[in-house]
């Protein structure tokens, strides 16, 4: 740097590098690499100096109306390899789309990058919210139909919750964390508690289950226990400070905190209160032969994954790194996360970047000094009801099955291998 004092220009440049340096590893070397021009330092004014250092983005009507990320940030979703079906397919149907966790910071998944899944591969309905209604009927004193306007007049809550697809299963063939774990996302959801609506309808004492049904072409529907409805289900119209995105159920969805993704019915049009488990098409996929498989099939266990460093990333050299990742559980808030930098021999307590919320991603980190030797990085989460994320071998041992047997959603520990040259690869490979 040519100038003796820290100028505003340099501060601006530093900030720009931080915001634009999306891959964490690239941030440090990028800082301060651009030599300051002596000519520019004569004008200690951000507009004047800025125009000498980098091109400007001219304001346009569109950019004023609705902002855009930097063209230097190129992180995108991908069709999830699970099931081998393309998204979009030849007809424009969407099936499974994974979020780029390797580039994530903090806990909120931007709405444009939230993972997407549909019950069988669907077109995304284009619903006019003025026409949309939610009907609640069945074992209630008063069946009621709510317009979107009605719902927004009722007492609301705003909560952080993750949603994870049951297809989020990591294996040795996947390369990046987007492929291994990208079918989970976390957003700030705003809406009315389902319990508020059910009290308004008057729940009959015989009510034990409810069905939530969507308005997409297959009218995807799932059965859930009424105890869950009265505990914390959210009828959401807001996501990350704006209305839901169409891919997330615009104008209305149910958020069922901690239950597998498919229960979180999008384009919600109907709730039927019943006195028994109704076998809907979406439920039929949850049928299992054995009790253990069935029991593990709907509430998500404690899970965590290191997002940096993760598969296909490159460590520039030995020295200090902030190992960073996400942890979540369907059983409540995350209580602790431990990180191992030696393949699981020693576990170290990670720090949280915010207070862990119930059924929400929490960002954890552990400061690590890499000695340049080959090793394996692991993370392990424990939730507030004492459930701990298992190793694959522990699951196999518990069920007396070969390693790799994981009933229900796969919440086993994910290893990332670090090679001597700093290459990061899937430790299950």
């Amino acid at each position: 740097m040519g100038s003796k004092r820290t100028s505003r220009r340099e501060l601006i440049k530093g900030g720009g590098a931080l915001a634009g340096g999306f891959t964490l590893g690239a941030v440090a070397p990028a800082l301060g690499q651009t030599p300051a021009s002596d000519h520019a330092s004569a004008h200690d004014h951000p507009m004047a100096t800025g125009s000498h250092d980098y091109p400007m983005i001219p304001g346009s009507k569109d950019l004023i109306a609705y902002g855009q990320r930097s063209h230097f940030v190129t992180s995108v979703r991908i069709a999830h390899p699970m099931g081998g079906r393309p998204s979009p397919d030849a007809f424009g149907k969407v099936f499974h789309v994974a979020s780029p966790l390797q580039d994530s910071v903090g806990v909120i998944t931007p709405s444009s990058l939230h993972y997407v899944a549909t019950t069988r591969g669907s077109f995304i309905p284009d619903i006019d919210p003025k026409e949309h209604t939610l009907m609640i009927h069945g074992l209630v004193d008063r069946p009621l139909t709510f317009t979107m306007e009605d719902l927004k007049r009722l007492p609301s809550v705003t909560r952080l919750h993750f949603i994870e697809c049951a297809g989020n299963r990591h294996n040795g063939r996947q390369k990046t964390v987007q492929e291994t774990h990208g079918m989970t996302s976390c957003a700030e959801w705003t809406g009315v508690l389902l319990s508020t609506l059910l009290k308004e309808c008057g729940l009959k004492s015989s009510a034990t289950w409810f069905v939530a049904e969507g308005a997409e072409e297959v009218k995807g529907a799932s059965s859930m226990p009424i105890a869950k409805a009265m505990d914390d289900c959210l009828i959401a119209y807001g996501q990350n400070g704006e209305p839901l995105r169409p891919q997330q159920g615009f104008p209305l969805r149910i958020v069922v905190p901690g239950f597998e993704g498919i229960f979180n019915t999008k384009w919600l049009r109907r709730i039927k209160v019943v006195d028994r488990y109704l076998m809907n098409y979406s439920d039929y996929g949850h049928l299992r032969e054995d009790d253990e498989g069935a029991a593990l099939g709907y509430q998500i266990g404690p899970k965590s994954v290191i997002t940096y460093p993760s598969g296909t990333q490159q460590l520039p050299g030995k020295g200090t790194y902030e190992i960073s990742g996400l942890a979540w559980s369907g059983g409540g808030a995350i209580k602790t996360v431990e990180v191992s930098t030696d393949g699981g021999k020693k576990w170290n307590r990670a720090e949280f970047k915010m207070t862990p919320q119930r059924m929400a991603h929490v960002r954890f980190a552990y400061q690590w000094n890499w000695d340049g030797n080959e090793t394996e990085l692991l993370s392990r989460a424990t939730d507030e009801i004492g459930q701990q994320q298992p190793m694959l071998a522990q699951i196999a041992e518990f069920f007396k099955k070969p390693v790799g047997y994981v009933p229900g959603l796969n919440n086993s520990i994910m290893p990332w291998k670090i090679a001597k040259d700093g290459k990061v690869t899937n430790g299950l490979a």
Partner: protein, 192 residues
């Protein structure tokens, strides 16, 4: 004044009756939402449960279903007899005699209830024209697909009475979900 007093007395007398009604039925707090008509509920309530009580009247046989399968274009995506098309297989290509858990996941064939098959065809097919099949066509297609999967004989007539009685291959051989309560672990005794 006298009449006002009388009205007040009548109100007081009447109130226990009102209160007991209110106890039997919960009262709304916010008074929002509109009570849908029975017609509106019927139009939107497409759930068919295992008792079949929600089924519309109608009938169909495997033979009729085979025709509908061609006429409605199912054959284009699923292939003849439900095999070999670009769409999901509707008949096991290995054997219809394997135990159900060892077979591929086709149709809702593993469902303990034939009503699930009817419900899915009714709500989810054909692609792009979902919900347009007439009840008779749905009964016929259900009969045809259950026949090619060796669940029912060819001379079966399926209607709103007989469909819920079809014995599905899974029988009672499936796990029931445990009771879920807030704060419960995923599986009792599972350390993780």
């Amino acid at each position: 004044m006298g009449s006002l007093k009388l009205a007040a007395a009548l109100l007081l007398l009447g109130s226990p009756v009102l209160a007991s009604t209110a106890l039997a039925q919960s009262a709304p707090t916010y008074g929002l939402g509109r009570v849908p008509s029975a017609e509106e509920v019927r139009a939107r309530d497409i759930n068919i449960s295992e008792t079949g009580e929600e089924l519309p009247p109608g009938r169909g046989t495997p033979k009729e279903g085979e025709k509908v399968f061609t006429l409605q274009g199912c054959i284009v995506c699923h292939g003849p007899e439900g095999v070999g098309g670009v769409g999901p297989k509707l008949k096991s290509s290995t054997s219809q005699d394997l135990p159900i858990w060892r077979r591929e996941r086709i149709l809702p064939l593993r469902s303990p209830f034939a009503t699930t098959v009817w419900d899915y065809i009714n709500r989810g097919m054909p692609l792009g024209r979902e919900g347009t099949l007439k009840p008779d066509e749905v009964y016929a297609l259900t009969a045809y697909l259950l026949f090619v999967n060796k669940v029912i004989p060819e001379d079966t007539v399926l209607d709103e009475k007989s469909l819920p009685k079809v014995k599905m291959p899974i029988g009672e051989g499936y796990a029931r979900l445990p009771d879920w309560k807030p704060g419960t672990r995923r599986l009792e005794g599972y350390p993780y």
